[in-house]
Amino acid sequence: MLVFTRKRDEAIIIGDGIEVRVLRVGRDGVRLGVTAPPNVAIHRREVYDQIRVANATAAGDRESLNQIAARLRDARLAGARGRS
């Protein structure tokens, strides 16, 4: 990992056109400004990680997913009959 010391209003440049600037340094956090080309996705790590875990749990193979779909459909149909 590359480690930098940056002061307020100082920045680093990553690759072609991505800039990360230190806007404010507080006791509990650092406020960063990121400038990047509009097609570059920028995510907060913890949100991305949460979705990564959810995707890993949701992923399956074709056959088992088809079985799950059939089971959920049956449950819904049974529920609909129960209510009518």
């Binding site: 097609n39 995510h43 959810a54 949701a58 459909r73 609909a80």
Partner: protein, 132 residues
């Protein structure tokens, strides 16, 4: 825009999905036999598939805003009709939840898709799948 209208076309996800960054090509499999569900199925060997449903069938008022960067990545504009799908997770107790927080968004016009990673989404990552 329904999953059926996209059946069997390869959709390109330039960044893959979180956790499956190498999975770039997916096919949406929809059929009357699957309805109201659809499969978001990897087009390449060894990559994962997902069971999905349109979010409006879970929450009729569902709306997640897209940032300009999202639209750009989809090759879409604000008014472009898009297909929205949310992924279903089955739990060991037999219950099912849907990830309303990070929907799959597909632009049928460009055949490009992405999974929305919205930091301020008010929706749950594990919203219970209602029975109807």
């Amino acid at each position: 825009m329904t999953p059926l209208s996209l059946a069997n076309t390869v959709i390109t996800f330039d960044e893959g999905l979180p956790g499956f960054e190498s999975a770039r090509r997916f096919v949406v499999v929809a059929s009357p036999a699957l309805e109201p569900f659809a499969l978001v199925q990897a087009a390449d060997e060894g990559e994962p598939s997902f069971l999905a449903i349109e979010p409006r069938l879970v929450d009729p008022s569902y709306a997640s805003p897209l940032a300009d960067s999202d639209l750009l990545r989809l090759g879409a504009e604000q008014k472009t009709p898009l297909l929205w799908l949310v992924l279903i997770t089955m739990h060991p107790d037999g219950s099912a939840t849907v990830n309303l927080k990070a929907p799959i968004v597909i632009n049928p016009g460009t055949m490009r898709g992405l999974q929305l990673v919205a930091p301020d989404s008010p929706y749950l990552i594990d919203h219970p799948l209602p029975p109807v």
